[in-house]
Symmetry: C2
Subunit: 247 residues, 2 copies
């Protein structure tokens, strides 16, 4: 590991929503896709509990087509589980023996679309509070620039995704150049709220939206760091666990 | 003026860059266009020093075409004055008798483009730190929702514009609903930096960009509140001083 006094050559940037992704030059970068409530937290959980893979798909119909190929099908629209699906977007539904060794097709309002928006990046990995330290240890040892892509809410900025981006910036900033106002602002937001993310996000628009769905326990889980020792990586349309002895 | 205990019916939102404007329903709203460094600060200054009007135009060629009609022509690209123009984008160039009673055609990298992006709004006004209290007193007494549109830097988020949006949110929040994570985040950013905006923005990307141009005095001016007792309003392609006895 490089010492804290190194002069950084790699950069870390933050893109607040997929709608802005074309403003960034990410083709040679590692993109960390972030949808804290709840897609990327759920993906980390499913892989930590030994699902074989997650295939992010854009539409409900695409998802249904995977059922005939033996996949579990999963997803939500506007926060609610899709009728007839095996699972919704609650991470607790994946802490279950039924996912072990299974392939899962997943569609969500924001997260799966964000992953597809950057499939031409050098590498795409999945970030959440639940896997943050494992992810950051690995990112620190790669040779590429990093772009954190927040899924947001229907292409709008949201606080929880940018706070996770800010947490990543904070943990990596001694090793990376930061020349991006979104990264600086994200880190400030994280530093202000980090001691009680749940209380801090109490008034965020997404928290209020999800409150109507009575999923407070999901939210507490998604905001609790380091419950999943995995790095999900998206390659050729499929998310699997990165096997890397240097983690 | 309504008391602080009113239940707000009007909303205030913040759009971080013109690239996201289509996500907002602003057609019946007042849009406050913000480009602190330096277009909207300069527009306020020109009108405060009795320029007759500012016509924002998209291109340098469009600007040149106005010269034959007797306009002063003004503008910058990437922070630098355009060759052969009467003025650049420095507010100090407008604190000058030569602007009195004159029509000015202005093109800038970000600000003038942002104004044109919302010309279908119910009202478009120009915001800057230099006119913030005059503007907020007027906004408080209107019946419409408000959208603060940050010009950003080439469609990316920037800190100084969102901080001004946050200052407006802070000054109006007792009278407006806030259900927008961008507005909440902007206000936090402002509250963190408000006691010394100049120092706070020291490391922002735009500050560093402008430092290369040696315009520190411009920046200090643009970050100093309440130097211009004007509300510039954009109507039919032209910005003039709003004459309103209720200001």
């Amino acid at each position: 590991m490089a010492p804290d006094t190194e002069i950084p050559t790699r950069s870390i940037e933050v893109c607040f929503t997929p709608k802005l992704i074309n403003l960034f030059d990410y083709k040679d970068s590692i993109v960390v896709v972030i949808d804290v409530l709840r897609a990327t937290s759920t993906i980390c959980t499913a892989l930590a509990y030994d699902a074989e893979s997650i295939t992010p798909v854009a539409s409900i119909d695409d998802c249904l087509a995977y059922r005939n190929q033996g996949y579990l099908i999963a997803g939500e629209r506007n926060g609610e589980m899709v009728d007839g699906f095996d699972m919704g977007n609650s991470p607790f539904q994946y802490i279950n023996d039924k996912v072990i060794g299974r392939k899962i097709a997943l569609t969500t309002t924001n997260g799966t679309q964000a992953i597809k928006a950057v499939e031409d990046a050098a590498m795409v990995v999945i970030g959440a509070f639940v896997n943050i330290d494992t992810l950051c240890r690995w990112l620190k040892n790669q040779d590429r620039n990093i772009l954190c892509l927040c899924a947001g809410w229907k292409n709008k900025f949201n606080m929880e995704d940018s706070m996770l981006a800010g947490a990543i910036v904070h943990k990596l900033k001694n090793h990376f150049k930061i020349d991006c106002d979104s990264a600086i602002t994200s880190e400030m937001l994280y530093m202000k709220g980090r001691h009680d993310l749940f209380a801090f996000l109490e008034n965020s628009s997404h928290r209020r939206r999800l409150k109507r769905l009575h999923i407070e326990s999901d939210i507490k889980y998604c905001l609790t760091p380091n419950q999943c020792n995995v790095i999900p990586i998206y390659q050729n349309g499929v998310i699997t666990k990165l096997i890397n002895t240097h983690i």
